[in-house]
């Protein structure tokens, strides 16, 4: 049996396990409710902005461009995404921000739980440890991707019914924003699965996952803050410090860039998180007693 078949079988089982578990259902409901509320807030903000700028479409567009530039520090990117519907853009931010939380809560016990209960022993005689790890990671990633899709469908649906976006915008911007969120979530899922494989007690895996995610968030936040402060002092936006690249969410601007090169680089780096975690996780599981 090829490793790919093993990975597929384990990933499908992991997806089924997570979807069906009480934790998965509860998190799904909470996320969808949160998404609905956020969607309404986003739409209401857009409604307010539109009302203020109703008389002057150019003023409205400029407002959005300025906001985007402030957030990304990149004038070209700001001009590009200013053409995207505000609701969808805000929603991307929310899903990307929610991704690590969702990944941590759903994925912390993916492997640690099965190590603790020794359920992994039923799989260990039938699949390579590397396939087991990869299947667990991909199963978690697939679940998060599905939750994000549900959030987008819900929120986009609200924006569509309010007339703030068109079907065409959903098919282009909506799809792209979802994919951006999914790619970023992959890096978070990789880190969470690696942490889960490192511990036998799920509660320790949970706390460590949160600690690691918080450390990465600090890297991103401090990096962004120092970049912004330098820009304020010098009036020129410099490149992000190296540690900002450790924070997966920091790649959202690159992924949204009109430059294909930048977007592809971001995809490659984020997939690099996944591949690195798979290599490390497989080696870890291969060496450890189960």
């Amino acid at each position: 049996m090829s490793p790919a078949v093993e990975v597929r079988l384990i990933a499908l089982r992991e997806l089924r396990r997570n979807v069906r578990s009480l934790k998965g259902v509860a998190l799904g409901v909470i996320t969808l409710l949160g998404a609905l509320v956020s969607a309404l807030v986003c739409v209401s903000i857009e409604g307010g902005e539109r009302a203020r700028a109703a008389a002057e479409n150019e003023v409205y567009a400029e407002l959005r461009r300025q906001a985007a530039e402030k957030a990304t520090g990149d004038a070209t990117l700001a001009a590009y995404i200013a053409s995207a519907p505000s609701s969808l853009l805000l929603f991307l931010k929310i899903t990307v921000w929610l991704a690590p939380l969702l990944v941590a809560l759903v994925g912390f016990d993916g492997i640690a739980g099965e190590l603790q209960n020794r359920t992994i022993r039923f799989w260990a005689v039938r699949s390579r440890r590397s396939s087991y790890f990869a299947g667990k990671l991909l199963g978690l990633w697939a679940l998060i991707a599905l939750v994000m899709l549900a959030i987008h469908v819900l929120a986009d649906g609200v924006a569509l019914t309010r007339g703030y976006v068109t079907i065409g915008q959903l098919a282009t911007w909506g799809l792209r924003f979802w994919l951006v969120g999914v790619i970023i979530a992959g890096a978070w899922a990789a880190i969470a699965t690696l942490v889960s494989a490192s511990f036998r007690a799920p509660v320790i895996a949970l706390m460590t996952t949160f600690a690691v995610f918080f450390a990465l968030w600090l890297c991103g936040t401090i990096g962004f803050a120092s970049r912004t402060m330098k820009a304020l002092e010098n009036g020129v936006t410099g490149p992000p410090p190296w540690y900002e690249y450790l924070y997966p969410n920091a790649y959202d601007a690159m992924l949204l860039s009109p430059s294909a090169g930048k977007a592809v680089t971001a995809v490659v780096i984020l997939l690099g998180f996944v591949v690195a975690a798979m290599v490390a996780g497989a080696a870890l599981l291969q060496r450890r007693d189960v």
Binding site: M1, R13, R16, R20, F122, W123, A124, R128
Partner: protein, 315 residues
Amino acid sequence: MQGAAAVRVERVSKRFGPKTAVDGVTFGIDVGSVHGLIGPNGAGKTTIFSMLAGYLQPSEGVVEVLGLAPKSVDGLRARLGVLPQDALLPPGDTVGEFLVDMARLQDIPAAKAETCAREALDEISGKDWWGQRCGSLSHGMAKRVALAQAFLGAPEVVLLDEPTAGLDPRVAFEVRQLVAAKKGRCTILVSSHNLQELESLCDGAVVLDRGRVVASGTMSELTAANEQVRVLVAQGTTRGAKPGQVPLQELREISVVKTAEFDEERLEIAVLFERRQADAETVIAQVLAVLLRNQVRISGVTKGRGLERRVMDLT
């Protein structure tokens, strides 16, 4: 194939920090035999099982199953079945899903996986459990489902770690029947605290104590069943030549008998005989003839010392 080693354990040690759980253990199991792994708690049985299943890496030595390292998943896929002692079934999966997943990972085609899983479940009398969540099964039911996955797809070697532990007598009996039915169809290594169970099931055994092998061999060798006969006599029986007393001298005069002793405390006559000259059944006939002629009241007869007593002596 008979005589080839299905399992080979050579000078294997396993240490957990400063503690040595298994210390230089060596034994082999022939293809097609049923072998027992015996020992008190902490003897290292489960550690050896875990190394044979690839769950644990030996600190030293060589472990092979069907000539392969236990972690060679691809080489041993569907050829090795394992019943882990303390592994929980996935609580959220239904029994059917779990068994089908296991079958699929054994490279059984999707079209046949369900049939195969249902057959395995049927063998443990659990066909009604197909749609039940594993988390809702009782201990006995879960153990039997775990047993079904161990025998799924007719593997060549099956490792059973405490298959009847914690089961009620009826279910334990059914499990023993199932294992007995598999005898001759695959190589089975079974560990258990129930020595009577092992004595009836196994062709041979390895006795462990504190991580070391203290005895190993065929069941006849271990219990001395082919060189010793034991006769239990009624309460109040003493040695002597009068009617109703144990005539030790007369027993010793039987041509094939090497020694005959009477333990008055245990009320047991132990007769050691020359195994090349007679089999146990012939000796039993001769010994009983002498005892009956002397009107000794007999409570029971056994060949050898019995595995339980042998293990008690060794550990």
